[in-house]
Amino acid sequence: MEAQGALALAIGLVGLGLWTVLVRRNLVWKLLGLNVAGGGAILFLVALAHREKAGPALEGVPGPHVDPLPQALVLTAIVIHFAVLALALVYVIFLSERRHTQDVRKLEETCPTRWPES
């Protein structure tokens, strides 16, 4: 039951985060959404490692244990998410300074994907 609840939350978080990336125009909001979606994916892995009435995978803890492998993977994933986010935020600060906006559409206008035709 616990795992199901957490899985439902994880899927909800992924959906919510992606929705934020979709509808917001401000880059900081988009990054917040990505952060939440990434957190959802991490929770997804942890919840799938959980078993009914299981304790942490420590020696000396009796009874059934959770799967330690996904938890180990998730530790890595959390750090990677933080690293990418820090880089993204400093780019946002850079663009705010040079382009004076954090709005995606204005940024697209000032940096056209296509080179102007001669």
């Binding site: 899927i11 992606l18 979709l22 942490p56 995978a57 750090v79 880089l87 300074e97």
Partner: protein, 212 residues
Amino acid sequence: MKVLGGLGIVGLVVLLVWLTWSCFPLGELPPWEEATAAWGSKNAVAAIVLGARLWDTLFEVLVYALAIAGVALAAGSLGTKAVLPPLPETPLLHLAVALLLGPIGVFGLYVAVSGHLGPGGGFPAGALVGSGLLLLALARGTRGLTPGWAGGAWETGKFAVTGAILLLGLGVLVLGARGEPVLVGLNVLIALEVALGAWVVLREFAHVRGEM
């Protein structure tokens, strides 16, 4: 476009719900006592992160180190630097920070050193110490905290620690070193790297003055 995207998200959520629903009941788990015994650890997660899957962890350490290098590079190119002004001078804040910092440092060290015995490990420990440093910075202002220390010195130190972690990894992966001292050494080095990195990031973020 947004309607299409919304439909896409709804579709993905439905798909994920169907997938997870059909995953139950979850399968049996493999025993992990072997792994902990092989690495001299009581915590299976630590045995995997620092032992069996050390290869991944080395790249993770590099991800962290390079993200910090990237932040420093991008922030350095901004040019306009202004120092984060300290919060209003209140003796209470100074006192609180002075009182908190010692315990945070000790707790961080404990979390790092005991990471293979119970919950903990290098990354959370480093992040804890990094946050403690930030509190200090907020109370005293970044300039007051690092008189005469160029930003480059911190980064150099961080890369030296990263190199040490990689060399230790070489010892484990190629030469076959293992056991409790390896785990403790890795955890402490990682904690040091993360704390230094967190400090560099927070410093850069505090120094860069962006505009809206």
